[in-house]
């Protein structure tokens, strides 16, 4: 955000949460300071509370039926639209990434471009994944039997801190392209791209509540995520090994599917958050 007029004071953004399509502050009133790699103050984003998490899960659950019922074509177009809007926000995100991660503006710009292209990649999967993962099954008897992958429900994402935008976009796109809804705990260290990306999602025809973004302390929120009985699965790629074990223990209460991914571009990110449904029907006259 180059300042052409040296005497002009920038209008800085208040980074807020993204819950149910709105941008509230934390109900707790808490914020925390985020600084750049050079130690300079960048923003005071919300320090989300357990109550904010609960609100986000309620919003995500409420959005699930509509989003999973939307046609795959429609979901694909909305993911593509997210890419379009992200393209338009490239400059702002480049600045944020560069400041937070301490990388050159060029490297930051490349990360934004890669994120845009990744969204386009996942957009295309919405109406193809079932052809890949589904089957008709040759059972021994007069039955028509088929298996299809279905979205699992509400997926929590504990986002990695680096690459801050790319890791986040890959996680979100993989989760929602199939019809899941998401509650994202943004990287504690690099939360700003997550909120700016939330602003992209808010203007991409993505229905309210499909993706909800919380900023704050991952170590504070992760145990509540793990024990929340209305969360079906967790992408825990952004947590330490020690925290991962705690999450798995708490997540066993409702047998959450808890996954960790390496690559951002992977069909596993879609399929690991889907359930296979098999339907039998008699054949006869």
């Amino acid at each position: 955000m180059a300042n052409e007029n040296a005497s002009r004071i920038d209008v800085l953004k208040t980074y807020k949460l993204f819950i149910g399509g709105a941008f509230p502050r934390s109900e707790s009133g808490r914020v925390y300071e985020v600084t750049g790699a050079n130690g300079k103050h960048l923003a005071n984003p919300a320090l989300a509370s357990r109550k904010d998490l609960r609100d986000a899960v309620v919003a995500a659950r409420a959005a699930f039926n509509g989003w999973s019922d939307a046609t795959a074509y429609n979901r694909g177009q909305i993911l593509y639209r997210m890419a379009e809007i992200l393209e338009g926000r490239s400059a702002q995100l480049t600045t944020e990434i560069s400041a937070l991660e301490g990388v050159t503006p060029r490297a930051a710009a490349l990360q934004v471009q890669e994120s845009i292209d990744l969204l386009v990649w996942y957009a295309g999967w919405s109406d193809k994944i079932s052809a890949l993962a589904g089957s008709t099954n040759a059972v021994s008897g007069p039955f028509y039997n088929f298996s299809i992958p279905e979205p699992i429900g509400v997926v929590a994402i504990l986002a990695p801190s680096s690459p801050s935008l790319l890791g986040l976009v890959g996680a979100i796109a993989g989760v929602i392209t199939s019809g899941n809804t998401a509650v994202v705990i943004a990287s504690e260290k690099s939360p700003l791209p997550a909120i700016t990306f939330a602003e992209c999602m808010a203007t991409s025809d993505l229905p309210a509540g499909v993706v909800n973004v919380l900023t704050g302390s991952t170590t504070e929120l992760a145990p509540w995520v793990a024990s929340h009985m209305d969360i079906d699965a967790i992408d825990a790629s952004g947590v330490s090994t020690k925290l991962l074990k705690e999450i798995k223990v708490a997540g066993a209460q409702n047998l959450k599917r808890i996954k960790v991914f390496g690559e951002v571009k992977s069909t596993a990110r879609i399929l690991d958050f889907m359930e296979t449904k098999t339907v039998w029907h008699t054949i006869g006259i």
Partner: protein, 480 residues
């Protein structure tokens, strides 16, 4: 005797040869347990002891895991896939050849009617081996990358409701994918697994590829927690499934869990009612209701409630309960005293909470564990009998008015294993099937199983699938 009564038609038990005691089957041989201890397994229809089996302790588990590791490293992982497959084909054929022997033994040890062990359990077990045998040399086509790899040594813990069939569901895909196995059958039904050891001998399966240790929950826990295990496959209660998920947290072990259910069986008013009644009976009374996917919650549309219940009671009155070895028997013995106590406890809760009980009039034999086919009407969603898995021949009936209400009620459970839909309208079947949060949906049928058909649940009914390409993938690491 009236014209319509059956004469007894007992299956002979001469075909089975049960030894007085069995050790663990480790490294291709039966071995006395290091614990030095044995425990009895009884026939639940007579309460007579059939045999005594080894009680596995930590040393027994160590030896079994070491044998499986050795066989994995030296033999099974190095064998050409097609050859591995041929062993599975052999096993399938031997199971077919010795099917009657297995059926009789299963009925003796489990209490299920010979009609079911003979026509369902054993043929399906053989089919599972035959199906997976063919996968062994085609894994690169299974959707797991160009060269998927086995995990290594798999701990497999199976339940008592379909002992040999559950063994087949576990062992066949594990072996086809190149894993080796330590299997623990349920403590009340170990005998067909121990007879399976003899099938391994006849098939000349390399020593240590399949190891079988017997014991109760403590032995199972020792196996799950053994550091030499790479993967756990468990079928049983959701409670134990959660314990396993907890105990493997922080390790590299992965797990497949097939757990409990409280399936809704939905009868719309435009269903073929007579067929639906048959489906209801099959859904809940098959295998004494000892079925995780049993249609234990009947959701019947209000307008046909009375008609369905009237016909159901007539049909239930004709169910034959008794000697499991009688070929005419529909309902055999409850598998154990403990299970019978659980069924009695939950049905008492049904009475206390205000549901109305009706049991089919049938003679209960003096010895053994039995429970008459029972239906509760006037059940509400908060009743324990509508929420908890009874795992017995007990049906809870709830009603609904609109399809939306049916879905709402069907999905109102932490489980998500299976569901049934009865209607003559195709579009309604597909609408209902798409809304139900369950892994297996039967439309105008119920309780059908096939090795080619993935089986497994949503939500707290477990992790992963068994059967089909999806089930195979649970035993493979995708290497891309």
């Amino acid at each position: 005797m009236s014209a319509f009564e059956y004469a007894p038609a007992l299956e002979s038990t001469a075909i089975v040869d049960i030894k007085e005691r069995y050790g663990h089957f480790v490294n291709g041989k039966f071995q006395a347990p290091k614990s030095g201890k044995y425990f009895p397994t009884i026939n639940p229809a007579t309460e007579k002891v059939l045999s005594n089996v080894a009680l596995g302790n930590a040393s027994d588990v160590d030896l079994a895991v070491a044998a499986a590791r050795n066989a994995y490293v030296k033999v099974w992982s190095k064998m050409p896939a097609a050859e591995r497959g041929k062993y599975l084909f052999r096993i399938a054929r031997i199971l077919q050849e010795r099917a009657r022997e297995f059926a009789v033994l299963e009925t003796l040890d489990n209490g299920k009617p010979i009609r079911e062990s003979r026509d369902t359990d054993i043929p399906l077990a053989a089919a599972h081996f035959f199906y997976h045998a063919g996968w062994a040399d085609k894994l690169e086509h299974s959707g797991n990358g160009a060269s998927p790899k086995p995990y290594g040594v798999v701990a497999q813990i199976i339940p008592w409701n379909f002992p040999l069939l559950m063994l087949a569901w576990k062992v066949a895909p594990a072996l086809a994918t190149g894993n080796t196995v330590v299997l623990k059958p349920a403590e009340t039904t170990p005998l067909t697994a121990l007879l399976f050891a003899d099938v391994c001998r006849q098939a000349e399966l390399p020593a240590g590829v399949v190891n079988i240790i017997t014991g109760a929950g403590e032995t199972g826990a020792l196996l799950v927690n053994h550091p030499g295990i790479d993967k756990v496959a468990f079928t049983g209660s959701t409670e134990v499934g959660k314990l396993i998920a907890t105990s493997i947290a922080g390790t590299k072990k992965v797990a497949t869990l097939e757990l409990g259910g409280k399936a809704a069986n939905i009868i719309y008013d435009d269903a073929a009612i007579d067929q639906a009644v048959e489906g209801i009976v099959n859904g809940i009374f098959f295998n004494q209701g000892h079925v995780c996917c049993a249609g234990s919650r009947l959701l019947v549309q209000e307008s046909v409630h009375d008609e369905v219940l009237e016909k159901l009671k007539v049909r239930m009155a004709n169910i034959r309960l008794g000697n499991p070895l009688d070929k005419n028997t529909d309902i055999g013995a409850i598998n154990s005293a403990a299970q019978l106590a659980k069924i009695k406890e939950l049905t008492s809760a049904g009475d206390q909470q205000g549901a109305e009980r009706w049991s089919a009039p049938c003679e209960i034999p003096e010895a053994g564990f039995w429970f008459a086919p029972t239906v509760f009407t006037g059940v509400s969603q908060t009743h324990r009998i509508a929420r908890e898995e009874i795992f017995g021949p007990v049906l809870s009936v709830l009603t609904f008015r609109t399809p939306q209400e049916a879905i709402e009620k069907a999905n109102n459970t932490p489980y998500g294993l299976s569901a049934g839909i009865w209607t003559e309208k195709g579009s309604k079947i597909l609408w209902t099937a798409s809304k139900l949060r369950a892994g297996v949906i039967w439309a105008n049928t119920f309780n059908k199983f096939d090795p080619a058909s993935p089986f497994g649940g949503y939500k707290e009914s477990g992790w992963g699938r068994e059967g089909g390409r999806h089930g195979l993938s649970a035993y493979l690491k995708a290497i891309k």
